[in-house]
């Protein structure tokens, strides 16, 4: 970022945190965190889920108060008791989840977000100026529900820019964007930084940080474990700092020779659950023995609906819409489908894939009783259940006190390993998983991905629904994209470029270049 104007070397940093600590009952979310951000610098805060990134930015933005440590703003120690105080200092924040009213226009939403009342015409003029100077494409009179996610994010950015911020905090801004939208966002952020505004960029995506940021502070377990120049440091090294152990690579991916179709879906249409469910429209695909089929797509385009339609939690209109090893199952319930060899893992662990208040052993009964003799004739065999749960814990290296531990006591990654182990341990003919490594630390993610590859190698068909393109490119043999409840025909991953996938995903937002995705 040579273009960024830098203050003189002896000038105080824009923001300096010194030994910030924050505890919640049972966890030290932040411990002695110190970092400083210069004027015009794009500074990454990098860390796994649970590393303490969110707590740290909430302290900077005044949402939460630190237990100890101090914050200096342009060299002066300040206290930031509220977000309003933060904004008065010149700190703006774009949250991961937007707070917008769908039924109102862009300009109305911006007016609502301001601290002081501003005359409507004056506001229009100011917004127009901001949009123009950063060449942001956004129509102030459009209603929010007609906008794409990227456009909605721009509203939040404009909201911040109107306050002429000196520091802009971006919390995981790319989690719901397509690759093209990410590029566009980065251009805007570079321009903002070039005009002297510092940016604190919160993320766990290394390639983004490498592409965008000047400095990276790496957090692990609430502490700073390293500071580096991401342009110089290798991705692998940063990942290892972030995870705290050496990365394992996945063996045997893309190696499968696809056999016969084990799961065949044809013309599957299903109304979404009211009020906001996505309708599935004429979905057709085959998952073949020995292969991993990836389904990419931006969140909320029918992934959850597709999973519950496949698992049998919602039933289709005609039995032939889903064929499992040649047998029609689209109108049979979840239990029968499992017995026939179709296992599914939904995205949400707590309360969907597992019951938080149940022990691991009880959670094993939840889905494994159809294929394993855990409860013959309706009588639970506690010994068999415990043995199965213990076997899963051992095989998938689940860190826990044992089968009697309640599911809620496990970290997200460990619970996900248990759930994946529970399903893989039943040796299903077809496994459908949604977001298999969502919120899971990298070590556990690698183990889960390896297990999926191994399962396919044994002749099962694996379907991975994920928003993480890197994951899909690493695992999948063939890839489809789901948008607005429609599925594109699968393409072999080997001859697919990431830009092409981005274009397929872009179709969701009605941008003209994405129209090809519907073909």
């Amino acid at each position: 970022m040579t273009a960024s104007p830098r203050d003189r070397a002896d000038a105080p940093p824009r923001l300096a945190l010194s030994q910030i600590s924050k505890s919640f009952p049972g966890v030290k979310a932040n411990e002695d965190i110190s970092l400083s951000v210069r004027a015009g610098e794009i500074h990454a805060v990098l860390g796994e889920n649970g590393a303490g990134k969110s707590t740290l930015v909430k302290i900077i933005y005044g949402v939460q108060q630190a237990d100890g440590g101090s914050i200096a703003w342009n060299g002066e120690t300040v206290s930031i008791p509220s977000p309003k105080a933060a904004r008065r200092l010149g700190i703006g924040m774009v949250f991961q989840h937007f707070s917008l009213f769908d039924a109102m226009t862009v300009i109305e939403n911006i007016a609502l977000g301001l601290d002081e009342a501003v005359d409507r015409d004056e506001l229009k003029a100011r917004v127009a100026k901001v949009l123009e100077s950063y060449s942001l494409p956004l129509d102030p009179e459009r209603e929010v529900h007609t906008l794409s996610v990227g456009e909605r994010q721009r509203i939040e950015i404009v909201r911040c820019l109107l306050q002429k911020p000196k520091l802009l905090i971006m919390d995981e801004p790319t989690s719901v964007l397509t690759p093209q939208e990410v590029d566009r966002l980065f251009e805007t952020l570079r321009q903002i930084a070039a005009q002297g505004c510092s940016i604190l960029y919160i993320s766990h995506k290394l390639h983004e940080i490498k592409a965008l940021c000047d400095t990276a502070t790496i957090l692990r377990g609430g502490r700073v474990v390293g500071t580096c120049d991401p342009k110089v440091e290798t991705t692998r090294r940063m990942a290892e700092l972030m995870i705290g152990s050496e990365l394992r690579s996945i063996e045997g991916a893309h190696g499968g020779t696809a056999g016969m179709a084990r799961l065949a879906v044809s013309d599957l249409s299903m109304p979404g659950e009211p009020p906001f469910g996505t309708h599935l429209k004429e979905i057709s695909f085959e998952a073949r023995a020995g292969e991993i089929l990836g389904i990419a797509g931006v969140a909320g385009n029918g992934q959850a609906e597709l999973l519950t339609a496949l698992s049998g939690e919602r039933l289709a209109a005609s039995p032939q819409m889903i064929m499992l090893d040649g047998k029609p199952v689209a109108t049979t319930g979840a239990g029968e489908r499992r017995a026939a060899g179709l296992a599914c893992v939904p995205e949400e662990r707590n309360g969907h894939a597992a019951v938080p208040d149940f022990s691991l052993a009880e959670n094993a009964i939840l889905t494994a009783r159809y294929r394993l003799p855990l409860a013959p004739q309706g009588f639970i065999r506690l010994g068999a259940v415990k043995r199965f749960a213990q076997a899963v814990i051992g095989r998938f290296d689940v860190r826990t006190t044992g089968p009697a531990a309640p599911a809620r006591a496990l970290s997200g990654g460990n619970l996900q390993k248990f759930i994946m182990g529970r399903e893989i341990g039943q040796e299903p003919g077809v496994l459908v998983v949604s977001q298999p490594t969502w919120g899971v630390d990298a070590g556990a993610a690698a183990a889960i991905r390896q297990a999926l590859v191994d399962l396919a190698a044994k002749g099962s068909a694996v379907v991975v629904i994920s928003q993480d393109l890197d994951e899909l490119l690493e695992l999948a043999d063939r890839l489809c994209v789901i948008n607005e409840g429609r599925l594109t025909p699968p393409r072999a991953v080997a001859d697919l470029k990431i830009e092409e996938i981005g274009l397929m995903m872009g179709g969701i937002h009605g941008q003209p270049e994405g129209a090809a995705a519907h073909a």
Partner: protein, 358 residues
């Protein structure tokens, strides 16, 4: 200063202690209220809660009152665990008694061992039928079973009044609004000679044991718990919430109906307008006092039975009004719900937000 602090983990100790704390607070508050009203508060509370438990000659009466409470509460607890809120057990209890009495009146001039089982069966079916209405409305039309089951209670009471004053009035009863007395073949046998202890008491204990086994050891019990704790996970695991609603409503109605006919064929020996004494409502307190656990419910049933027995004692000893029983029960439910907060929170001294180790 004191403050509430959220516990990291819900407290298991408090899960079992809080009902006892609620009982203690009820006794304390009862003492204060009745003293303030000019009664001998301490004696009143002693007679109410402790005398029935301490004097062995009161135990049979305690058992007679606890049996229907336990039976109804067991059925309700199964439903409550599955998030099925059947508040109308009183109506199902009355309908069970009516259905069983119907069999009794039809078999008035017959004799045989089969009559009492037939009455019990009719009682179960009557309660089930009355519970089936809210179940149907909830599963088909998403109508809250809380409202429908509660309102149907008053329909059941009116049905009882109509029958005992009209078609079922005892022809030899000097125009009193009551049915014929049941014959010996229609009456619940006494299991301990020369006492009030009838077959309903061991039956209630047996049902508690079976309920416990079903909840802990079968997939049916598992289904009830999953549907209540995590409906989406239940669907994922292949359990049907609709089916569970039906089964738990029918079990709750069936057990209330059985309790109803046992009460009619036991202590009452006939149907009268005084038959509904609120066991169906009190059983809700019993279920929660027992933490929805079958063995806890046996304990809860005895405590609430004591308030009925103690209420009668205190009417004569300290001349407390009969309504005092209801007041104590309401106090107990109030404190029971209030002390629930101790499971997830603890009280601590307010400290400066310094670095206090968790």
């Amino acid at each position: 200063m004191l403050e509430w602090r959220r516990r990291r983990e819900p407290s298991t100790a408090m899960l079992y202690l809080s009902p006892l704390i609620a009982i203690a607070l009820t006794m304390l508050m009862g003492t204060i209220v009745f003293t303030a009203m000019g009664y001998d508060g301490l004696t009143a509370v002693y007679d109410f809660f402790l005398l029935p438990l301490l004097e062995p000659q009161r135990w049979p009466d305690l058992g007679v009152k606890a049996a229907p409470l336990v039976m109804i509460a067991l059925g309700l607890a199964i439903g409550f665990r599955a998030n099925v809120w059947n508040i109308g057990a009183e109506g199902q209890y009355i309908m069970g008694a009516i259905a069983g009495t119907g069999v009794a009146l039809a078999t008035y001039e017959m004799s045989g061992w089969w009559i009492l089982p037939a009455m019990a069966l009719a009682g179960i079916l009557g309660g089930m039928a009355w519970a089936a209405i809210p179940a149907l409305l909830r599963t088909r039309l998403q109508v809250s079973e809380i409202l429908t089951s509660l309102m149907l209670t008053y329909v059941a009471i009116q049905a009882l009044y109509y029958l005992v004053r009209g078609p079922w009035k005892d022809p030899d009863g000097f125009n009193f609004p009551q049915t014929r007395m049941f014959t010996p073949d229609q009456t619940l046998p006494i299991v301990i000679p020369e006492s009030l202890v009838h077959l309903g008491i061991p039956a209630a204990l047996l049902i508690a044991l079976v309920t416990w086994l079903v909840l802990e050891k079968t997939t049916a019990g598992f289904a009830v718990k999953v549907v209540g704790l995590a409906p989406a996970a239940a669907r994922h695991g292949g359990f049907s919430a609709e089916r569970t609603t039906w089964i738990t409503m029918l079990i709750g109605g069936g057990l209330a109906g059985l309790a109803g006919i046992f009460e009619a064929a036991g202590p009452f020996g006939q149907l009268t307008p005084q038959f509904p004494v609120g066991y169906g409502f009190t059983a809700i307190i019993v279920a929660f006092l027992g933490r929805l656990h079958p063995l806890g419910i046996v304990f809860g049933g005895i405590v609430l039975a004591a308030t009925y027995v103690g209420g009668e004692i205190a009417q004569t000893t300290v001349r407390l009004p009969q309504a005092a029983t209801g007041m104590f029960q309401a106090l107990l439910l109030f404190f029971l719900l209030a002390t629930n907060v101790l499971i997830t929170y603890r009280i601590g001294l307010k400290a400066k937000p310094a670095k206090v180790a968790p």
